[in-house]
């Protein structure tokens, strides 16, 4: 939190803030125009931001606010997305490992890995639903497939990024395959894996929401459909738009945080140290200038 405030008050944070404000202003102008021209339910096209904000505390039933309803459904979607994400991550990791260990596996899997990238997996969600017969399982499967691809390809790129000299070094030490992977290949590929995870996390969230819409029940997507079909307040829809955007961004940020705490730690902690010492020097210089003056 402290960090956040610090960043916001820094010059770059200030720029970001102005941009957000400008964006909000454009939204409000749009909402005003729509409100003046569309007679029938302008909030279906573009409500005012304050209307959406106010709707957070509006009740939908005796016991629940719209926001509460959204949060309950968000949890149902997120938990499924998370399970799928973890399964996809594990599968992508294992496949990349096998591909790097065996030329034959690499040759078999590589064209299909490319193919997955080209075909619209999400468009196949309905068929996954009919194959698995369960919406929860389909959410997990789709999220897993969408996570699997970027993790596998990025890890593979990570394994391939290890320079020939590094391989030769291990060879000259007559290191066995296990040692080679533990000491060299995996540490080299981990930053690449995190790149893949950062791409995959918002995708898993989005995919889960979209899979929700295929069937009734709980989940952000279901609520979204309900809201659009006028079965519940339209503000549920607008809240979901904001919440899902926040979830997508937060999920990627969370991965970034985990990265900097684990593998990235050694690098960013290092650069942090460098930056800090550079800052100190500057401060000393300033002090020196002052004393001279």
């Amino acid at each position: 939190m402290k960090n956040f405030i610090k960043r916001l008050t820094s010059k770059n944070g200030w720029v970001l803030f102005v941009w957000l404000a400008a964006l909000a202003a454009v939204w409000e102008i749009g909402a005003t125009v729509i409100g003046a021209t569309v007679r029938n339910h302008p909030e279906y096209i573009l409500p005012h931001l304050w209307q959406i904000a106010a709707s957070v505390v509006q009740p939908v039933s005796d016991t629940q606010t719209i926001f509460g309803l959204v949060m309950v459904n968000a949890w149902a979607t997120l938990s499924r997305a998370l399970v799928g994400f973890l399964i996809g991550m594990a599968a992508g990791f294992v496949l990349a490992l096998l591909m790097s260990l065996s030329r034959a596996v690499e040759k078999i899997a590589f064209p299909y890995l490319m193919l997955i990238q080209m075909i619209p997996i999400l468009g196949m969600a309905p068929i996954v639903l009919s194959l698995t017969g369960d919406i929860g399982v389909s959410r997990i499967v789709i999220a897993a497939i969408l996570t699997f691809y970027p993790v596998a390809t990025n890890m593979l790129a990570g394994f391939r990024s290890v320079s020939r000299e590094k391989h030769e070094l291990m060879y000259s030490y007559a290191a066995n395959t296990f040692v080679k992977y533990v000491k060299m290949m995996l540490p080299s590929a981990l930053p690449y894996m995190f790149t893949g995870l950062k791409i995959a996390a918002p995708m898993a969230v989005t995919a889960s929401i979209l899979v929700d819409t295929l069937q009734g029940g709980v989940g952000l997507g279901c609520l979204l459909s309900q809201s659009l079909k006028h079965n519940t307040s339209i503000y549920a829809f607008w809240e979901i738009v904001f919440i899902s955007a926040a979830l997508g961004i937060l999920s990627a940020k969370l991965i970034g945080l985990i990265e900097s705490l684990t593998v990235g730690g050694r690098l960013s902690a290092l650069s942090g140290r460098l930056i800090r010492s550079a800052g100190k020097e500057k401060r000393y210089e300033k002090q020196a200038e002052k004393t001279e003056a």
Partner: protein, 256 residues
């Protein structure tokens, strides 16, 4: 230096098959390297000097002929961990501190933590980087990184140090400093050093013998004995003896 030979290269050739084209990288090289000798493989790119080094290191196999290291095949010698390799780039693991980079080969042979640290510290002492043990590679200059590479190569106490253009990416001043360091390490440890370079004066200044290789096809065209006294000093760099040796070496290249 003794008269005992540690590396025996006997009529070794290497032919690469690249897309239906046969390229002779090395043609019929015979060379014997003495125990404790500092020997340079010198030549322009394409002369097969690196190929020869890689043959000794068991990174490639000769197409014909043989290489014997300490009475063993290169493979046996590698498995017995008789080699220390230093590459053109330092090849440090950027996620490990300096000391842990030097510890790497010791971890591979499963040495205990205490011994590992002690031995790695000694090696860093040898290359004068004791104070930088806990730094990360990216915090060190190119010359310091290369010294870490040397410390790591020495960590397993190998009999033979194989160096593939180790100083070619460094500036002249750093390189000369590292020459002194390498010679002093060599004097203290009695290693056999096989040093690949394309720098004529470097090879003369450092070596006991300079093997001159010529390209197309790669072959050994001359072996020049360097009879400059040891220890070599910085003043010798501009001595007429060294200059005349450099001229002799330069004259023994063929077909460039």
């Amino acid at each position: 230096m003794t008269d005992e030979y540690i590396i025996d290269i006997n009529h070794a050739s290497k032919v690469f098959n690249n897309q239906k084209k046969e390229v002779t990288a090395l043609s019929d090289v015979s060379l014997r390297i003495r125990k404790g000798e500092f020997i340079s493989l010198l030549g322009p790119s394409g002369c097969g000097k690196t190929t020869l080094l890689r043959m000794i290191a068991d990174l490639i196999k000769p197409s014909s002929g043989s290489v014997t290291v300490d009475g063993q095949t290169p493979r046996e010698a590698r498995l017995a961990r008789k080699y220390g390799m230093v590459f053109q780039s330092p090849v440090l693991y950027e996620w490990r501190t300096i000391i842990r980079n030097v510890e790497l080969p010791l971890e591979i042979i499963k040495l205990g933590r205490e011994e590992r640290r002690e031995c790695a510290m000694k090696m860093l002492e040898l290359v004068g980087l004791r104070d930088f043990a806990d730094h990360y590679p990216s915090q060190l200059s190119g010359g310091m990184q290369q010294r870490v590479g040397i410390a790591r190569a020495l960590a397993l106490n190998p009999q033979i140090l194989l160096m593939d253009e180790p100083f070619s990416a460094l500036d002249e001043f750093t390189r000369e400093k590292l020459h002194e360091d390498l010679l002093s390490i060599w004097r203290r440890t009695n290693k056999t050093i096989v040093f690949v370079t394309h720098n004529i004066s470097e090879s003369v200044y450092l070596s006991d013998r300079v093997c001159v290789l010529s390209p197309h096809p790669g072959r050994l065209s001359a072996v020049v004995d360097v009879d400059l006294p040891r220890p070599r000093t910085a003043e010798m760099r501009s001595s007429p003896e060294l200059a005349s040796l450099v001229e002799r070496v330069r004259g023994s290249f063929e077909g460039i």
